[in-house]
């Protein structure tokens, strides 16, 4: 079986046995997902790339200690979230809503409503408190179960429920603020 077709478990086993190709395929397979988590948590492309790099390095260095009681994806989510939180703490700055993840809107040609709505969500998400943001990203953007999120964040199930509920309400409030004044230029919101 080609490494590209192998399941994660087989790749992990081969990588731990020093199969560099297996490790490369494993990292390439999951890099986008880890980057996506980091970007949504950090709301800054450069910070997300830094966090993703740290996460991928942590995966390669920690793979031998991965006990495989959980899925590789769960473990790697945990690594990525920790890397993103580390970067956020080091930066010690709140994400700037005027610096959306996407390219500057004010200089771009008119965009359709669907894309505009996605930019609004991205901007609004950046204003949700960090811990709540992580929880709703894992739940609503990546469809993880509450128990899996609790394992990733190493917090009790009740804490996960609370963070998700508060995070969704915070996001809804931010989205509501945006829809109240639709004439205001997006870059000034």
């Amino acid at each position: 079986m080609r490494a590209e077709d192998a399941p994660d478990d087989a790749l992990v086993e081969a990588a731990v046995a020093d199969d560099r190709r297996a490790l490369e395929v494993l990292l390439e397979r999951h890099a986008d997902r880890l980057y996506g988590v980091c970007l949504r948590v950090l709301a800054d492309r450069e910070d997300a790339l830094d966090a993703t790099q740290e996460a991928l390095i942590a995966v390669t260095r920690g793979l031998a200690r991965f006990d495989r009681r959980s899925r590789f994806t769960t473990w790697s989510y945990r690594v990525a979230v920790n890397a993103a939180l580390d970067v956020a703490r080091r930066r010690r700055r709140a994400p700037l809503p005027s610096e959306p993840i996407s390219d500057p809107v004010s200089a771009a040609p008119p965009i359709d409503d669907r894309v505009a709505a996605q930019i609004d969500v991205t901007d609004a998400l950046a204003l949700v408190p960090l811990e709540q943001r992580v929880a709703i990203v894992l739940r609503d953007a990546y469809d993880l179960e509450y128990a899996e999120i609790a394992e990733i964040l190493d917090v009790p199930l009740g804490t996960v429920r609370s963070r998700i509920a508060r995070g969704r309400n915070a996001l809804a409030e931010e989205l509501g603020n945006r829809s109240e004044d639709p004439e205001r230029p997006r870059s000034e919101r």
Binding site: R20, D32, Y35, T60, T122, A141, A165, R168, E173, G176
Partner: protein, 210 residues
Amino acid sequence: MNDDELTPDEARARDALRSVPAPRLDDVARRRLVRRALDAHSGEDPGDARRRDAGRSGEPRRAWAWIGAAAAVVVALVVVGIALRGDDSDTASSEGAAQRETAVSEPSRGESDGAGESAQSGFAMLESPGEVLAFADGLTVAFSTDATRTLAAAPACADALPSGSQTDASAPATYRGEDVVIVAGRDPDGVAVVYVVASADCRLVETLER
């Protein structure tokens, strides 16, 4: 509470978040991140890998970059000379600044056009009143600027750039209303980039890649 018992606000937030497509890395960035992680796994310091990569592919490119930059400057001087010769004498006395007949442009990225690429290869900054053009190996980025200023040989805030970056030309400008230093050069992987660094606190504001 489970997701079947959401308030309307919570359901709205959930649906909004689900509607945004998952971000993806471009192929170049993904390969770069994975390669560095593999290098780290094999015991090599990622910084060493970056320097090695720059050394392996960067030397010939760097030589060509300097040749390109010199060629770009010569071309610019010829163009300016022709323009000044055709202008009034008082225009010619304007402190030798490169005076190009281009409108002030808003910050824009990736404004690379086919016609300009061959002449704009290499690394250079060209300034005129009202505009700075950063050329980085075919990547052309225009920035608005407040005044004509002299080019800086070494960028301020160099420590703000990713370790292992190569800087070839820099100039002060404004970007989204903020005083910045624009730096044309290469990132640690040898990719042509234009860095935008905030003058006030040396924060890396933006990295524009080809």
